[in-house]
Amino acid sequence: MKTFAQKAIERASGVDGVVPGQIVDVYPDLYMSHTASWRCIRTLEKMGVTELYAPDRIAMVMDHIAPAMTAKNAADHKLCREFAQRMGIRHFWDVNAGIAHIVLMENGLIRPGQFVIGTDSHSTIYGALGAFGTGVGFSEITAAWVTGKLWAKVPESVRIEISGTLPPGTYAKDVMLRLIGDLGADGLTYCSAEFAGSYTEAIGVSERMTFCNLAMEMGAKNAYVQPDPVTLRYLDDVGVSRSSYEVLVPDEGAVYRDVIAVDGSALAPQVSVPHAVDNVVPVDDVAGTRLDQVFIGSCANAKYDDLQIAARVLAGHRVAPGVRLIVTPASAQVMSRASASGVLGTLIEAGAMITNPGCGACAGNGGVMADGERTLSTANRNFRGRMGSYESEIFLGSPATAAASAIRGVITNPAELMTGVPA
């Protein structure tokens, strides 16, 4: 009786019968690194390493600082670009591609059952496609480039069963914020978070990405949604053949540290208030809080459907005077869909500033705040000073909450603006 995590680590390590707490060497299927890959490259240069274990398992995406704002940034990008070319790294995406996690999933690099490491804590997102994804440091990635392996401790698993239909104005983001608020930032430390239940089965891959992405904010080692017809259709659409992966599912009777039940129908829109992600309150508790900026972006909530929801709320409205609305599509593909469907036009007409795809303001690349300013963001972190001044504040919410708040200029329950808006 094994959990998903046990099965994924067995597969990646070749060791049978692993148990939680056991440490084994795994051979990851993919090593993702972002803009700061230049650190790994410089380290290899210093050590005189010229051979890589498996260039095809390396995926590099220039997403955090894109495009360059300083000659140093430009030189770092150039170093990565030239290294990729020299070493035959095919999976290289430049400053115009978008956020690494989303780009890799849209391009069919993430498959069920894989073990994926990434130099970004939100690498747990790959669980949305049934892969074991986890964040590591640049030293680990550098070592994996050369040796192909990395140690991993087998995590315990926690099963989160979400049922019911969400009320109008409430979305996957709100479910996660409530959960983070209830369990705390250390609630799932080093656990494999398995999302299940009728709501999880009913939602698309994009919302599952939001789940798995935010699992990190409870300390999860990885996250997981069991692949189902929704997953397989997504993989078909991005050109992944069904013979190229093996779906791993937990056994009946697998052992869980906890099983948590969430009734979605009892939820309302939620907001993380400064300065911790697990500082969560219902939106009505902070409604009316004046805002300077609203940011719709990040690997948590800047996918196509996130922009679509924001556009539906904003259609026919204007951003409140004195408020800046920044929209950063997660990827070039999201930008394509948004410009083809009219979502982009609606956002521009409403007064949004559309930036190039990438991490944008979430990683401090743009949208930085001055003293005393306040942003409501759809990202996944609101730590003090993350978006500029130590004396600024970040609130986190869903794209609908962000759009409604941009219209009013104050934190607003989106349900108030959603009469007649399609769900």
Partner: protein
Amino acid sequence: MAEKILARASGRRSVEPGEIVVANVDRLLMHDLSGYLTSQVYDREVNLPVRYPERVVMVFDHHFSPPTERQADVLGVNRAWARKHAINLLDCGSGNLHHAAVRSGFIQPGMIVVGSDSHTPVHGALGALGVALGNDSHAGTVLPYGKAWFKVPKTVRIEVSGTPLPGASARDVALWLVARIGEGELNYAALEFAGPYVKGLPFWDRWLFPLLCVDLGAKCAYVEPDEVTEAFVQTLPGGPASLDRLERGDSDGREADTVLRFDAGEVGPQVACPPTVGNVRPAAGVAGTPVQWAELGGHGGGRLEDIAAAARVLEGRRVHPDVRFNIVPSSREVFAEAARTGLVLALHEAGATWFPPSTGSNQAYNMGALAVGEAMVSTHARNFPGRNGSPDAEMYLASAATVAASAVAGTITEPQEVAA
């Protein structure tokens, strides 16, 4: 025209070249950088109420999305100052300073428009008298009294005739003129652009001629208002009411001290090469130079015309894998129009990347830094070494069609080469 506008604004019947007059200023344009410097000096040294706050606008176009706390603070201080003095503010994403000001209906023919930006004379395209002043002049006289002093410039009329060669546009003719006349050759002159070629251009193509005023060293430049100007002004918010201010010269060039005549008939695609705007060569002469960056944007680029020209070149083609092609709409209105007409989708699908309406990579405040050995070809107005990141990077200036063709080829390429 310059004399007439200065005479009226200084309350005189007429003025003569060389005279110094004090004139009422109709518009003061500042961007986030110059606005910051001006506002700081103003509060420290002058500290009076702004006399005509409705005549002043600040546009955030260099820091359109600040990546540092220092930059965020500059914008924060600017916003607070704009509120305190009740001046107009166009915040991040509104567009390039001059384009956003025109598109919002802030500039009208016959006005005296001053600003710290050296390309302020571009408003001569509307028949306004645009003059670049220093930040301290704004703080010292324009903000507290609504006035500034001007030495009346002598007028040089530049007549352009002929039809340029295939692949060439108004941008190429403008660059070619800088080389033909010479950088700094027309110091302190008022330039009147005329002749059948210029008068036959639509408004946004005329725009490119007063734009190069600063490169020639001139004080101001304009195209005399005519039916094209009138029709354009009608499309602006609050437009029709201002037509009575259209100021026409005698239109036969008699008031000009000098008349320079040029035939654009042999002009093909041009490229301004490093290190200055006047280092203009036929594009064919630098064809094959590798570029890693291409950009539509800046004072002279990012117009709907540029975006459409690029889309024509890229139709059925893709941006070269070694090139990043940035598109920076000149204003929110242009971006919205490009989204409506499918240009955003078409160029994105061809491999270009869209950026917020702003001044884009100009001076690389928020984007556009280049590494050692990299090169960018763009529609920008300046190409000085070190302006965009490394001093060992190169900037080439060209038309939108040449920029797009180069983005496809990966090397500087004449547009007709790609089309063939």
